[in-house]
Amino acid sequence: LLTQRFSKAFSKVENSRKLTEKQINDFLREIRSALLESDADYEVVKDFLKRVREKALQEDLTKKVSPFEHLLLTVYEELVKVLGGAVSELKKGTVLFVGLQGTGKTTTIGKLAKYLKDKGFKVAVSSTDVRRPAAMLQLQRLAEKIEVPYYHFGEGLSALEIAKKAQAKAKEDGVDYLLLDTAGRLHIDEELMEELSSIKSAVSPSEVLYVADAMQGQEALRTAKVFHEKVGLTGAVLTKMDGDARGGVAFSLRSALGIPIKFVGVGEKLEDIEPFYPDRVAQRIMG
């Protein structure tokens, strides 16, 4: 099925058994377009194809029956390799959820709380989002649906104060996982990034999960980098993968920052979360 998409590039070279470097470059340029159209980061794509090209030139492609099919397979395998090797596991403790506005943090917490509870763990959730209208109510409602304790503290507390109180209560209750929500924020908002950093220092999370929208464009990696530098990401969750976004951001995060994609959001309901399958995502990125 992958060859269907590249059939135009194939037909140009199908009949030539002798492979020239120019033909390889032209073919890789087609692949470059496909990867960029999937929103994979420009620099990441550049470096990736450079590696693939070197690998291709080392092999004697003229000995292959269909050299370009082999080249395409090489790209696919390399992509799977880059994406893979992640485990959909979370270390016990406080799990902090961070990211840009509207990416699906609050909903993801609901889903993961259910996922972990179904696995037999003791889970609690809390929100440090003092900004967004009805943000805390949103998480509270989700928690009620799955019968997981929602820690609520008084009005007028700062995000940092709530984080500390939630951590203390989680310890007191002996929970395995405290899932902590934060307000969506811009990576260029110094004050809010500083707030996030102070929350992290205060609760020493076992995991810091970057919640990224699968449809994010070329700024995805640069944004994640700032979050990573500020709070140290231990994993990512890719949301809204039930749409038709190709999800190139997964490739960018894993390749450039080494961040494992731990879970994938595939819908709006609380059961709509899955582990990350690198081969499926690789096929999707390649279109």
């Binding site: 509207g102 967004r132 929208d213 449809m215 994010q216 464009g217 640069r222 709006e268």
Partner: protein, 274 residues
């Protein structure tokens, strides 16, 4: 950025990279750079300083036609994928209409997502607008109908309808959206005045797919491009404009009541190429 540099293949390649990084898309960026290359040869342009105005003029020709004023009327319908900024945008627009002395009614058409109604209620309070809502899980079309009845009976100037976020790939949800629009049209044949697609500027090439499907399904009359206060440039509206000609009516530039701006093609092009 390319100050003082001479126009050569290396510059053009870096320019193409910048355009792709602004989410303009591989095809559009390639097309644009190819046109610039030809222009540079024809007009013997040797420096970046000479090329930049040509680039801006070309981009302006691509999106200049998509400048659109928000039409004056009664009903404004908001739609878009999950998390794009619909509810917040309604709060901002309600504030704007209120400051124009209008009597504003909000309709809590998102009956699905947790606390969606309460979120819109806060915006009603903040903007001074009134709100019509039903219980969570109610049929959105029935809430819309109820809002239109109240608007008519109590002489509201404008009704802003919030809908649940929905991925354009979900056929049943698209059908639901069509039904909501039909309720408005049955009530007031001249309405809705605007069918606004709310697009998140941080989204890449999927924006084009969203715009295509929503336009096809409910005939979108305008776009609101949100989260431009971030680092994303929202370049996906360039191919959307050239392919679908949907006017861009408003820009979201923050999370507060006042963070709503007009779309100025010249300013947008400058931002894109700064």
């Amino acid at each position: 950025i390319f100050a003082g540099r001479k126009v050569d293949e290396e510059l053009l390649e870096e320019l193409e990279e910048r355009l792709i990084r602004a989410d303009i898309g591989v095809k559009t960026a390639g097309q644009l750079v190819e046109e610039l290359r030809k222009e540079a040869i024809r007009k013997n342009i040797k420096t970046w300083e000479g090329l930049l105005p040509v680039l801006r003029e070309k981009l302006l020709s691509y999106i200049g036609g998509c400048k659109g004023e928000l039409k004056e009327g009664k009903v404004y319908l908001f739609l878009g994928v999950n998390g794009s900024g619909k509810t917040t945008t309604i709060g901002k627009l309600a504030h704007r209409f209120k400051s124009q002395g209008k009597k504003v009614l909000l309709c809590a058409g998102d009956t699905f997502r947790s606390a969606a109604i309460e979120q819109l209620q806060v915006w009603a309070q903040r903007s001074g607008a009134d709100i019509v809502y039903k219980e969570e899980g109610a049929d959105p079309a029935s809430v819309v109908y109820q809002a239109l009845e109240k608007a008519q009976k109590e002489n509201y100037d404008v009704v802003l309808i919030d809908t649940a976020g929905r991925l354009h790939t979900k056929e049943p949800l698209i059908r639901e959206l069509r039904k909501i629009k039909q309720v408005v049209q049955k009530f007031y044949p001249e309405e809705p005045t605007e069918t606004l697609l709310v697009l998140d500027a941080t989204i890449g090439q999927n924006s084009l797919s969203q715009a295509k499907v929503f336009k096809e399904a409910v005939d979108v009359s305008g776009i609101v491009l949100t989260k431009l206060d971030g680092s994303a440039k929202g370049g996906a509206v360039v191919p959307i404009c050239t392919e679908l000609k949907i006017p861009i009516k408003l820009l979201g530039v923050g999370e507060g009541l006042e963070d709503l701006q007009e779309f100025e093609p010249k300013t947008f092009v400058e931002e894109l190429t700064s």
